[in-house]
Subunit: 594 residues, 2 copies
Amino acid sequence: MAEYQAPLRYMRFLLHEVFKTEEKLAEMQAFPDFNRELMDAILDEAANFSTQVLFPLNGSGDSEGCQWEDGKVSTPTGFKEAFKQYCESGWAAMGCDEAYGGQPIPKSLHLMVEEIFCACNTAFALYPNLNNTATFLLEKHASNALKQQYLEKMVAGQWTGTMCLTESHSGSDLGIIKSTAVANSDGSYQVSGTKIFISAGEHDMSENIIHLVLAKLPDAPPGSKGISLFLVPKLNLDEAGNIAEANQVSCGSIEHKMGIKGSSTCVINFDDAKGYLIGEVNQGLRCMFTMMNNERLSVGMQGIGMAEVATQSAVSYALDRKQGRVSGGPEDVDAIIKHGDVRRMLLAMMSMTTGCRNLTAYVGMQYDISEQHEDSEQRKRAASLVALLTPVCKAYFTDKAYDTTNHGVQVFGGHGYVSEWGMEQLVRDTRITQLYEGTNGIQSLDLLGRKILSDKGQAWKELYCELAGMLERARKAGFDDDLSDDVAKSLEKLNEVTELVIANASVDYVSSVAVEYMHLFGTTVIAAVWMNVVAETLKQSEQGIFEQQILNMARHFCQYHLASTATAIARIKDGSKHIMSMSEAEFELLTEVN
Amino acid sequence: MAEYQAPLRYMRFLLHEVFKTEEKLAEMQAFPDFNRELMDAILDEAANFSTQVLFPLNGSGDSEGCQWEDGKVSTPTGFKEAFKQYCESGWAAMGCDEAYGGQPIPKSLHLMVEEIFCACNTAFALYPNLNNTATFLLEKHASNALKQQYLEKMVAGQWTGTMCLTESHSGSDLGIIKSTAVANSDGSYQVSGTKIFISAGEHDMSENIIHLVLAKLPDAPPGSKGISLFLVPKLNLDEAGNIAEANQVSCGSIEHKMGIKGSSTCVINFDDAKGYLIGEVNQGLRCMFTMMNNERLSVGMQGIGMAEVATQSAVSYALDRKQGRVSGGPEDVDAIIKHGDVRRMLLAMMSMTTGCRNLTAYVGMQYDISEQHEDSEQRKRAASLVALLTPVCKAYFTDKAYDTTNHGVQVFGGHGYVSEWGMEQLVRDTRITQLYEGTNGIQSLDLLGRKILSDKGQAWKELYCELAGMLERARKAGFDDDLSDDVAKSLEKLNEVTELVIANASVDYVSSVAVEYMHLFGTTVIAAVWMNVVAETLKQSEQGIFEQQILNMARHFCQYHLASTATAIARIKDGSKHIMSMSEAEFELLTEVN
């Protein structure tokens, strides 16, 4: 069976020792309540709740799935009660504005809590997670009137939010959506259109569902510059803000999917439904990005969370399962953890998952600086680092999480393929994270096109300086010379490649190499952030198993994972020549009868 | 929806132009009936039957799955009738001994036919495939009496075979099986034990099921040297060879799995069941390997087949799906095949799948030489090449097929995750190929430990000479200098790395680097075999779209896929140091509450 203990000791080590969150928050006079003890208590409580309530529903939620009947969606047995407990325990309010009953929380801590929830049950976590980011969007962009009407109930989890972007012909390309909105005389709008792939679009866990819908006004400019954002409730409100009659919103069906079967993925029809503009006309995509950027970090946490479950389960199995002999006679069967190939997979899993967590803690801290620092230059700098790293957290973490869950299956052998062991579900559930909230190809284009090329590598240069500092710290603390040299060389190579790409940027070139660049970037950055962790580890007065484990994970990352950059660099240098030279007729030939 | 046309033109090109099968068979005076026309007719018929009968049952077979009730297993709707047609059309007899109604067929053609059947429906193909290899094993190792009793019905598909190896505690390590066999006075045995993961172990498509079971005699030596092989029928035969009373064989349950849901994966209980020794006492594993080596090639074909479906489906979708603008105004939406990142994935899929098919044709030809050549030295040499390449066909093809089916999902975006499009099923169905018939880790150990180290690289040197010849042919035919240089360098590097590994072989080192070595080996060998295809392509009098497509696939392989060898080499050179240095206590810490 899948096994999971929240990695609390490591999370505390990251928060307190490596990134010194308490001190840094104090410097900024931000989150004054959040001392070490409170942060630890929140992590403990998240671990208790999720391992006791959510984890046991993960397998049953998968086999039962969501059911659609006559426009209503039932979630799997236990989800409704678990969501009630979730809200009662205050988790729905996490990160929301106090004015509406929310509980602000530092982002680095918030992301760790999300990792724990997603590890235990990503299909479940999607419901509150979407609500959380929808709430955040409304806080940032909605009118005061809308905030007053909706936010308190959403923060309490009594009502839940969705994001309605995709249409059947329009996914990565939102500029071509067909949903429309027509202004009413009272300031509201009539919203019409069919949206697909709407997570939590319909379910039985909340009293009302608040859809945030992208649509076009009749006179909107073409493409993505003509998209507006609307709040469209499933059930309308009366003047007192109480639920009144149903809006013209219906759930036409749910998708049968590879995984996250406990999460409802809905077709939602808006048929002259009453809606309310959020933000400015034609600025909908900009508003939606507030939500999407948070969602993208969340998807990264889904990846790390499920990768951690796969890793722990595989380690536990490998310690227990006896098969083959490393030495000794024919009857002296060894645990498979003694075999090099099994260790190779386990170390790849551990060092990657933990490496991604390290980067998350760094991004979380920068996020808090970008929101809380009194100095606007500091805020701006931190915001640019967060913007640079958000597509990496989404795409790199989830690509690597998928590899990790697949390693998990491989360590289990044939048993990994059988449902009862829980390992194949992790693969199926993780697969979606590479696709939704913008495919990892789109994330890579965002990284290379928008975050690197648009500012000629300025944000990268800021990050580079920080990473070089981390490496220097590890060297001073006495980390292995050969490995820190490898990290130094990798940083230089990433710098060179970045300059090369900036110098050679063409649409075809950028598109052809973007995913390779994202992998090169993610691996190199995480290797450098490992150095920060290593430096702090070597400074600990006691060097026990915990410290040794960290150092060995870092070593494996710098050897095994960093070796992958050679391939990425070669491919980026080769560029788009062979990729663009095959004609469409040559592709077509493949699908013809012959 | 998943789309598939058998790649007949390419298969004919490989058989006739590149590998000149007709001429080579004639030289050996083998398979005299098999001229070009007959081979083409068989490919055509395989394509017709499988695309018309098997492909339509692939999706429904997945959603319906097999059902177990009271020891009986029902296969999905349509499977039984399809199997009847399959046998009536003579496919069950393919490759079997004529003495029992079989139809001998050259291996290179046989493997292509298998690819086509597996592409259309791997879950279905497993039933006849296991029967086919079980039949092959009996032809090679069973007594004449057993052959007379069983083979004719098995060749006709009236009865079907299985291989019963795995027990719950014993998978990769068969030396520790607990199943027992005790001799009866009449020369038969009483076989007892519980076998798991038995594909086609129980089903409703044949009158009888013939289990080939590994078990130990009471006085057997420990480990893998004490394993014997028994034929244990589900239903006993009377003296006339007709079905009599049931044997003590029962199906305890079937597994719920990630994929291949139309294939029954059974727990089979043998409870003092009557069995018959095959081959010599304690030589069971050797006999079983006859079957397993053929099975391993078949599993490789499953990989290529499903990868081809993913590739064709993705190409077709990418030509059709409009999203994003490469150039032009906001309303000028392009088909996604114009985007570099989509092309990168499609080319990776095409060039890899076709590259694996090229190597298959080469292995098939060597297989035929090993069986048919009049010169025993030639037979021996070819057999050593087949032995060397069998674990590569199994492990490399299936690892790459899994990547390919995952690329397929990615090209489809969110639609790839939804069941109705058929792409996620390909991922789930392909995942098993990396696990069964020996995990790909075990295959890699077989390649490096048994096939490279045991003969100090002799078989590799033979192969190297052949590959160097292929490269020389491509150069003479005028293939791109830079790419043929890259292939030449890669061959040299593989040679160096092989010598390095031979010089440094220790148990830990070999186990730690085996999978990386397998990937390095497979990629380099396939790049070289591409050169053979390229040489022939450039020689064609007409250079049309077909030829251009081949050359561009080869170019992409030599650029994109060959770039992966840099990482593999770096990891092999780094060896086992960091892999073996983490203590078990450090691993255990990961799973502890903290």
